[in-house]
Amino acid sequence: MFFQPDKENISIDNLKAVQEECLAKTIELAGRSPYYRKLFNKYGLKPKIKALKDIAKFPFTTKEDLRQSYPTGMVAVPFEEIVRMHASSGTTGKSTLVFHTKKDIENWAILVARGLYAVGVRKTDIFQNMMNYGLFTGGLGLHYGAEKLGALVIPAGSGNTKKQIELWLDLKTTVIHITPSYLFYLGHVIEEEEKIPLSKFSLKIAIVGAEPHSEETRRKLENIFGIKVFNCYGLSEMNGPGVAFECEYQNGLHLWEDHYYAEIINPDTGEVLPEGKEGELVLTTLAREGMPVIRYRTRDITKFIKGRCPCGRTHRRIERIKGRTDDMFIVKGVNIFPSQIEGVLMQIPEVDKNYRIVIDRYEGLDKLIVEVEVKKGFFDGELSHLKAIQDKLTNKLKENILVTPVVNLVEPGSLPSSTGKAQRVIDKRRL
């Protein structure tokens, strides 16, 4: 059962041919963007390729490159063709922006619809989308995909637990899109606080994403709710959710290879690894018009699963993401780098450069705590002045990382010193 049988069931040879054709187009198109035009010139590259293997000649694109091209340096079409923008946090300073044409939005919806269909979502389903809408891609990405498929979409967004449960019950929601941590919390509220038996819910399927989680977490959630839980992978630079999606077999995520050219590399050397070896996932958009991205280093560690999936889809499967090659962490589905936080602290003269990030979970929701030391010269004994520093820091951080942190001011010398290998990020979440 496929949403696009001819595309999902495509023979390996035909898939290769599609990739080759699309890659050639993508390279040609990318050459029209200011960023890639300059890059190609610098390396003396012609925006042309003959075979898939020619991609190896092109350098990788990193998050930093996206940041450098802020805001529109990678846009490859006339700007009036752009209909949507999404953003993700950058390692420092500016966030990275991704632009989509009408066709791109349509394609993204199709890829999500393929995934939803693969896990059993149908036109008859009631789909409650409990992910953040806005700059973050989790909300709108699945929203459009579920609509494409024809399901009824409830754009509930995240949080507002009581309302979520009410809608869930009254509209007989059958499918939800949610972070695993929030799903745990909902289960707790429904059973312990609302005292509603879970059997009263019509839920069948939960799509979970935006947070790294383990196979054990999936099984636990399935047992609590008596449902099937499926994993979905994506990143805003590659549209967002729907780059890869599990199918009914729950054994790896089918990466839509007619839309993304995937390589696994050794993150230290950049060397492309043979199939089946674990490494960093590198993706090239194959059909995106607005902002083609060539060999994007996702920093996510995974590997291709060898062999065909019993579901029949020819698109290869990647394993559940195992980790990161950098120090990025994810809070409430938002990517954050310690360097972003460091950057903000540098701008606030009242605090010292030592800091510690503690990530915890409270009632199923992530909490980001930033501990900073008050600088000696700035203490005048006024509590209101300390509070003002705290507020200033909270707001500045929020502007930068898109998540509201809890800022704790601590005594000088109580945090590990900034020299040496200090443990700056403490993740207390258990998933």
Binding site: G381, L383, L386, L409, V410, E411
Partner: protein
């Protein structure tokens, strides 16, 4: 002018103990203490018989500590004493940001510590009304 010491502390068990321990060790007599907190941190305000020394030893122990101007006024340890002072300040439209105190002798003298925006002005006003100001300890 009166002085108090403000010490930045995290809101954690054992913090006050550390401060009082240092004062005891240095034979500094703690006259009064009050705490203002804001969630995970707060400020401990103290008056001692040797504020200068207290400042130095706390600083040496890595505390964030700062002197603040306060009005330390002598009042009687009886009903209505504070009220009379408060009334004078109200008449002059002066806001009291913080106030605490301690008894010097039971049924006799007490010290009232006031944190106000214009310390000198308040001192003048109170002096004019016949109050005795305690310069420091």
């Amino acid at each position: 002018m009166g002085k108090q010491l403000s010490i930045f502390v995290e809101n954690k068990p054992g913090k006050i103990n550390k401060i009082t321990g240092i004062l005891e060790k240095e034979k500094i007599n703690l006259k009064a203490m009050t705490i203002a907190d804001s969630g995970t941190f707060g400020i401990v305000k103290i008056i001692t018989d040797n504020n200068r020394k207290a400042f130095d030893v706390l600083k040496k122990s890595n505390f964030l500590v700062s002197f603040q101007d306060v009005v330390v006024v002598e009042i009687q340890d009886k009903v209505g004493s504070f009220h009379r002072v408060a009334k004078i300040l109200e008449e002059k439209g002066i806001n009291i940001e913080d106030a605490y105190g301690f008894i010097i002798e039971e049924g006799g003298k007490a010290a009232l510590i006031l944190k106000v925006p214009e310390t000198e002005r308040v001192e003048k006003i109170l002096k004019k009304r016949g109050y005795k100001l305690i310069e420091n300890f």
